[in-house]
Symmetry: C2
Subunit: 156 residues, 2 copies
């Protein structure tokens, strides 16, 4: 039980540290630092998770791995919904995203959400990169604590 | 397996972030930021770990909890050795401290050790504080990857 919160507590503290030590103008740079930090962790983590696995057969198969095993490792739950337009865009919906449950859920706190979603976006992008998929990952919060991660695959 | 490394990966990235974004003069301030961050996490974590527990009967009993349950939650192993002078000083030895196994083990890397030990010192101090013990916690590396945490209880 306490094991599960360790990653969240540490994540929460990093967000505070990075965002509070920067002024208002540096807000974008804080977000990008958190994203980059997530990217490196996602990359390392996916290497360990998949080292004995066969290769995934296609992008959809890779996304299913992200939704199940990868999310389970990070947040002890699976992604609730996966959609795709079959043209390289995937939307992963988590109906109860852990980090957002730690902050207050009123509408007035919505502007706090991006800082807690930057690292998770980086985690996804890093994991996909480790699996050979270059992507752009963004997050969107409609009703706290639900959120959607949109993955746009970049064809080279 | 991958679960276990998540906390280490994140810890490692925080150390890099905090230490690399500061110049040489700010080294002490980086260490103290990492310690403070650990303190807050230790405090939150111990609250969750002990919420259903009876109170500990004395300081030694509390230290045994830190060596076993608390360390197990953080590092999936127990402290290898606990010593005390029975005058408020406790020395906790970990013969193979996880974070130190991530960095190279040559003597020339010894000066890298303090940055990886600052947060663990804070974690211990925070946990003890949550259990009603005010302390000063320092760490010492003799032979990598072994290290000793010295706890000096402060009587008020």
């Amino acid at each position: 039980m306490a094991d599960e919160v360790l990653f969240e507590l540490l994540h929460y503290e990093i967000v505070s540290h990075i965002c509070n030590s920067s002024n208002e103008e540096d807000k974008a740079s804080s977000i990008s630092k958190l994203e980059a930090l997530g990217y490196r962790i996602g990359l390392s983590l996916v290497e360990r998770l998949t080292k004995d696995n066969p290769r995934f057969k296609d992008d959809l198969d890779t996304m299913k791995f992200i939704c199940k095993d990868f999310w389970m490792t990070l947040y002890k739950k699976q992604i609730d919904n996966l959609r795709t337009n079959h043209q390289g865009v995937y939307v992963l919906q988590d109906n109860r995203f852990k980090l957002l449950t730690l902050i207050s859920q009123g509408k007035q706190y919505m502007d706090m959400a991006p800082r807690y979603l930057a690292m998770p976006c980086g985690l996804i992008r890093g994991a996909l990169s480790g699996l050979g998929i270059v992507s752009v990952v963004t997050a969107e919060v409609s009703a706290m604590p639900a959120c959607k991660f949109q993955i746009q695959i970049q064809r080279l």
